[in-house]
């Protein structure tokens, strides 16, 4: 039986904690994604936009979270991935990703997912529906 199929409802899949967010992380994401909005990389531009400093791309955080599921690629795939961005991620924040299995329904596994900062605040929250191959 595959690893993902062994999970019990209520079980936390895994937690991943990232190193403190660095400017280079965001520069790399800007380059790789093509999102060059300067509030993510240039201090002056972030301040002009009324922010205390540069903030991470929401999609950077969402992209990072998805790696909780990468190792299950032989068992199935992420069919649905829905996220609400709840809070900003600043430089040096320490982000932790969590996924909890909420429900199993035939070939689908429903997870609640979130990213939490070092103050215990949710920065994003959502759901993953993992489609298992038969």
């Amino acid at each position: 039986m595959s690893t993902v199929a062994k999970l019990q409802v209520g079980e936390i899949v895994k937690e991943i904690q990232l190193d403190p967010v660095s400017r280079l992380d965001l520069i790399k994401y800007a380059g790789a994604s093509g999102d060059f909005n300067p509030i993510h990389t240039i201090d002056d531009e972030a301040e002009k936009a009324g922010l205390p400093g540069i903030i991470a791309h929401g999609m950077w955080t969402m992209g990072n979270l998805a790696k909780l599921f990468t190792e299950y690629y032989e068992d199935g795939f992420i069919q649905d991935y829905s996220i609400r961005f709840k809070g900003m991620v600043f430089l040096n924040d320490v982000i932790t990703f969590k996924a909890t299995l909420k429900e199993k329904l035939e070939d689908k596994l429903f997870f609640t997912v979130k990213a939490v900062n070092q103050h215990g605040n949710d920065v994003l929250k959502g759901e993953v529906v993992f489609h298992q191959y038969r």
Partner: protein
Amino acid sequence: MFKDQIGKQSNKVKNVVERGAVKKFAEAIGDLHPIYFDEDAGRLSRYKNNIAPPTFPRVFDYGVIEGLNLPNKGLIHGEQTFHYVRPLFVEEEIYCYSIVKKYFEKKGKFGEMGFLVLESYGEEETGSTIFSSTSTIVISEAVRKVLTR
């Protein structure tokens, strides 16, 4: 002010899931798993191919929606969803476009906020859908004022 844009659609654009771009993207999100870039790992997998991370469609070109002028500053990404029929394969061609799905305004902490929902699609050449996604973009009153000036 975006209400009259609802239903508008961009032209379809052919995109290629480029091998190098997938590796760079996987690296940028700290998800450098061999299934994304190692050719042997791809060949030996059930997909017989490398795949791309689920948020990779961020890099695609979805074409231009005529008349939709979004500012390049002052937008807030509120929500994002992806729906997949199957994973994306490295080196495949995907035809992408977007539609303005919804626009509404709601009172919030920072005044009357605008919510623009864009729906995007990635299709095979035959027209069958590989993925769809929605992005909710929040536009503050201050930014909208600048736009109408």
